[in-house]
Symmetry: C2
Subunit: 299 residues, 2 copies
């Protein structure tokens, strides 16, 4: 339980709704800003008033998953209000006040250093990335079915990268009946792909590998799906790039060759906002609870 | 090879394109009607002229998957032309001429009895139904991801029926990470569900079973998803009914309770027309080849 724990949730999307629900469930005192246009209302949440003394009680602040923009503005899909995260306001929070976000740009990182409050980048965590790979895989399945006129079952598929998402992709697409090869760099990853009963592609010498396939999924965040790779794809092939923007695909060249290529980062929030919200909420609440438990033990 | 074998393909959709491709590949002589608005043209196919003596050479006629309407009219998505399948014309075909369709209404069945030509109902075949279950499962996955805000992984799912489609659904959704129960009537099916490591629901006493779940998929072609079942579903539940029209769900009651329910027959032709066409083409060509082989052996 988080009784007596004060949290401000500022801006965000449907995922924040699940976070607020979870915090209520655990009896935290919740303040919200940026949810004025939400149809349902949280009876157990209080409006956050930036000018009031609420700020002095805050044990945690939860920002949207993308953090702030380059000038510290916070976006929220449930509000037209522009919310500025200011240095002055943050300094009024108790020194132990933790700030949670998915990712952070240099503005947010520098701001947090200036005010000296701990910043948690949830999307950098291995556990969050692995939990998030579940809705990412399901979103990828949906995209492939929508954008091809053949089944995944029986298709040849190359997955580039055996990271936190690549591993989930490889396992599920193998189960669905695709003929899966996985592009890896390390001998450790090659061994794992072999153990899974799948074929290996050596990404250290991608220009010498046969890259012909029906479906190519990239998870590597730098240019790997280049001229050489795209040239080998048949006209009916589909490229799905899951790497964060701008992806790892030469989209211009793919278009020239008439190969459909989709850049699809951020699938969890799109295809399963409820699950994605729960993932964030669970991990965040675990961090907070762990801290509360430690403090109680120290006393 | 089908050299010297004459086939007329009359009407249909994208699946027929694959069938024509396959027949060309095997060197059959192909006549087509109802493809005048198709962008690509078949260089190796001849236009079928109903008044010519082409009819006397036909070894096989391929109708659209849905057969004809109640007055013998043939539909084709690549033509505005109305094509009538007449008794008079069919009688001009050689006596051994085989007619292929997916399903047949009583008009078509009676017509074929009158003219005394063998009629093959491809969709009634176990092999076609099992091959078709692959795109059906993928279409079902797509629909579920589109219509829920939670992942399939971790959801509780009930599948009603362990037939040719139910078996494929149970296996794949288990692999994707759903918590799957399967509704069955026979002790044989219950044993198979147990062997697959899944939970059984006894459809002989559905009114005594706990039907609460996140996702309910029906494959049984009579009313099984009734008041009693729907009442037990939570408001976020999704019903997908794959049984042929009108399905096995009380859709009016589902709507009254605010439960989303989708009737989704014919998914293969929608989500993967290329694969669906190949399935039909492969089975049809196997039947034709088998017959040709037998005739050659008899001579």
């Amino acid at each position: 339980m988080l009784t007596g724990y004060h949290v401000a949730v500022i801006g965000g999307d449907a995922r924040q709704i699940e976070i607020i629900r979870k915090l209520n469930e655990w009896n935290a005192t919740v303040y919200t800003a940026g949810f004025d246009q939400l149809n349902e209302s949280f009876t157990e949440a209080t409006d956050l008033e930036f000018d009031s003394n609420q700020v002095e009680k805050l044990d945690a602040i939860i920002l949207p998953i993308p953090g702030t923009d380059d000038s510290g503005l916070i976006d929220g899909i449930f509000s037209n209000r522009v919310i500025q995260l200011s240095e002055e306001w943050l300094k009024k929070t108790p020194e132990h006040c933790q700030v949670f976000t998915g990712i952070a740009n240099s503005y947010l990182k520098e701001l947090m250093v200036k005010v000296g409050r701990p910043l948690h980048l949830l999307m950098n965590r291995d556990d969050v990335a692995i939990y998030n790979s579940i809705p990412t895989v399901e979103g990828t399945i949906m995209l492939i079915i929508q954008h091809t006129d053949y089944t995944i079952h029986g298709s040849t598929m190359i997955i580039l990268g055996l990271g936190r998402v690549g591993m989930s992709l490889a396992r599920i697409f193998d189960h669905i009946g695709a003929d899966v090869s996985v592009g890896v760099r390390s001998s450790k990853a090659a061994a794992r792909v072999h153990e899974m009963g799948l074929k290996t592609i050596d990404m250290n010498k991608l220009d010498q590998e046969n890259m012909e396939c029906d479906i190519l999924i990239n998870t590597v965040p730098h240019l790997v799906v280049d001229h050489h790779v795209i040239k080998q794809l048949p006209s009916h092939a589909l490229i799905v790039d899951l790497a964060s923007k701008p992806g790892g695909t030469d989209f211009d060249f793919a278009e020239k060759r008439g190969i459909k290529a989709l850049l699809a980062p951020g699938l969890p929030g799109i295809v399963a906002p409820k699950t994605a919200g729960r993932i964030i909420a669970d991990v965040m609440c675990r961090i907070v609870k762990e801290k509360v438990r430690k403090e109680n033990a120290d006393e």
